[in-house]
Symmetry: C2
Subunit: 419 residues, 2 copies
């Protein structure tokens, strides 16, 4: 199977600046891939804090369990404590260490222990993510043998190498950076991500690692991250399948002193906005690399009972195979959008429902719009970016979600070739 870069890939990737207090290194373990880096280590200087959001899967991978346990252990310390909470993140691509039973658990423990010993930090300050095949035991020795070299070679400008090392079926590396300020103190946030199908040919997952030089207490970092993930990574879908390994981590190295009081301090407003912009950017890149994607679809739902209801309706549209295939066929088949609104199970007033595609009103007041002509939509449907707006006529809840179309190439990637 030849891997061609997605037609929806950004035309250029930003150069990520150094973040004070973060160094990165990559290595080749050969666990699955040959002649490419497949292991990434990030080392954070004290007093770094960390926040995390993980898959809701009931069959989560061993590294997800490992991260959750360490996050809980670091949260157990006093919030006011200026102790470092996180010292390292290690990520391998090619084997997800998911559904690997007690062997999987033992593997994460051994890798974590070796990272901690090598850089000289408590075990609970190590975080971990794995992406790749499910159900194959992950032999920790290939990773353990690489750790000395990783620690020795870590540097502050290896962002693009790190972004490439965590790829599986991704067709391009995903990076983003943004500058902002907290109370006048300039700070930076960098992010790298991987993801293509929620679970791709026996592998893949969404992994995202965010780093900032800001000083953020652990609980505030978690508050900001959870909110930001809701409007970005929890608002996208490629194929409605949820990985066993989805992981988003935000590290704040605390190298830049930033003053504010609590998560709701207005001094954090710019930082919040920057974080949201960065996570949306990376989330869009994941959708743009969706398996077989030919079109990037934005769906905005308004008039819902609540923002949560709006997102549920939006994801019902985004996950409908019939909506996604219609868009692949460049067919403005709004009857399928009506169907998807109806099956979401959230309140919708059928007789007040309106639908716009590409800014053209196609349906209003519960029926086809009198002025709508299908030919008006042809140029929009033939483009790469499809915009759908639905008002369900109940209240003021709104949300935007993003997805891609469902094409022959998706079937090719997932059915025609054995993984």
């Amino acid at each position: 199977m030849t891997i061609k870069t997605s037609p929806l890939a950004p035309t250029s990737q930003p150069q990520l600046p150094a973040i004070k207090g973060v160094r990165l290194a990559v290595a080749e373990t050969g666990i699955k891939y040959k002649n490419r880096a497949d292991l990434m280590l990030a080392i954070m200087q004290p007093p770094a804090t960390i926040a995390g959001c993980f898959t809701t899967s009931k069959t989560a991978s061993a590294p997800v369990d490992f991260c959750k346990a360490n996050l809980a252990a670091s949260g157990a310390a006093s919030k006011a404590s200026s102790d470092s909470k996180a010292a390292a993140i290690i990520v391998n691509a090619g084997n997800a260490n998911a559904f690997t039973g007690k062997k999987g658990q033992s593997s994460t423990a051994k890798v974590g222990d070796m990272v901690a010993k090598t850089i000289g930090c408590p075990d609970r300050q190590v975080y971990m993510a794995s992406t790749g095949v499910i159900g194959e035991p992950l032999d920790p020795s290939d990773i353990i043998n690489a750790i000395d070299g990783l620690v020795a070679t870590a540097r502050n400008d290896a962002w693009s190498k790190a972004a490439r090392a965590i790829m599986t079926t991704d067709t391009f590396a995903k990076q983003a950076t943004i500058k902002t300020q907290i109370n006048g103190q300039p700070v930076t946030i960098n992010g790298i991500a991987k993801g293509s199908g929620m679970i791709a040919p026996n592998m893949a997952t969404m992994l995202v690692f965010l780093f900032s030089d800001a000083s953020l207490p652990q609980d505030i970092a978690q508050h900001l991250l959870s909110a930001s993930v809701d409007q970005s990574f929890n608002s996208i879908s490629v194929d409605s399948d949820t990985s066993t390994s989805d992981t988003v981590l935000l590290c704040a190295t605390g190298q830049e002193q930033t003053n504010f009081h609590g998560a709701d301090d207005r001094a954090l407003a710019d930082f919040k906005q920057a974080l949201d912009e960065l996570t949306r950017n990376l989330a869009h890149q994941v959708v743009r690399d969706g398996e077989g994607a030919e079109k990037f679809i934005s769906i905005t739902v308004t008039g819902a009972q609540s923002d949560i209801a709006a997102r549920k309706i939006g994801l019902s549209i985004a996950n409908s195979p019939l909506v996604k295939t219609a868009i692949a066929g460049e067919d403005a088949n709004w009857g399928r959008i009506v169907m998807a609104v109806g099956k979401a199970g959230e309140m919708a007033d059928r007789d007040a429902l309106s639908i716009d595609i590409g800014g053209v009103r196609v349906a209003s007041m519960g029926e086809a719009d009198a002025d709508y002509k299908e030919q008006d939509l042809i140029p929009h449907m033939q483009g790469r970016e499809i915009d759908i707006a639905v008002d369900v006529g109940i209240a003021t809840g709104s949300a935007t979600v993003w997805t891609c179309d469902l094409t022959h190439r998706y079937i090719e990637i997932n059915a025609d070739y054995r993984s």
Copy 2:
């Protein structure tokens, strides 16, 4: 687009016997299809009762609203009343009369009124279903003009014609019959159905009409039907999309006197079993005609928290594009089954989970089974019938659901050709 009969179609269709108290007729209206019958009328003799189950869509079609209102009106009469509750069912194919606003409502009222006048029954004894394009107004005059002819030509042996008249993208007509008894009195149940995608190329839906000569009070018919639909039509999925028009009706003409006391009377046990068998048979036929289907997939979940939890896990597997494409590719990719169990959101013990495919244990105790060799499964994966059994290791809840694979042909039907 050439329509080839599904490779999963039953090799022969049964000849349905007459049911005392039911006559059927078909007609060509030309609303959408040319040179084929697209309108079906069933006339039931007093004292027929009726029960119905409908789509859960929040954007249900006008005929669904019409049936629900009439069912509520007939339920308002005394349960003990021996008044007839249902006199006719009229069904058209080609236009769903869904998302058609007030025009849609007026259309159902006019058609219902004309049927009632022509056969001489109250308006509330008429039932209706429409399947086809969403969002196009349905001109009632073509149907109204055909009613005289339908009533004049109705006969007790037109079952196969009726089954063909309600087809849209179906590649074969769906019929089933079963003989059973209530307290020694022989009775028969006939059923016809249509369905291929939940919503197919701008049309399609699942419609099912069941008829028996048994005497069943309205409330008991409803009780039996709801339970039977749960284990049949609510346990299948082609593409996870829910139509605006799904309708299942059960008519009991009361021509055979049957004695029993309440829905739980053991005298009804055989009838219940026969009804369940018949509805499962028709539900399987719908899956076997799933758009692009090449394989019929049975998924049995055991060890769940409850039967409802088991069905939810089963449908999560059945609706996973990654599981369905793996099966299309004849790949026993059980990692994707683990993923789908995990995303269902129901309790599952990752470390007690076991998976069998085609009777071969592939995973047990939370990891790949030590004795499993992929080559053992090749003959099963290459066959037309795929069996998956999952035990989630929590309690004793169980359920079986049925689906089909996701193939290039599904994309072709839904994206490559404009509807």
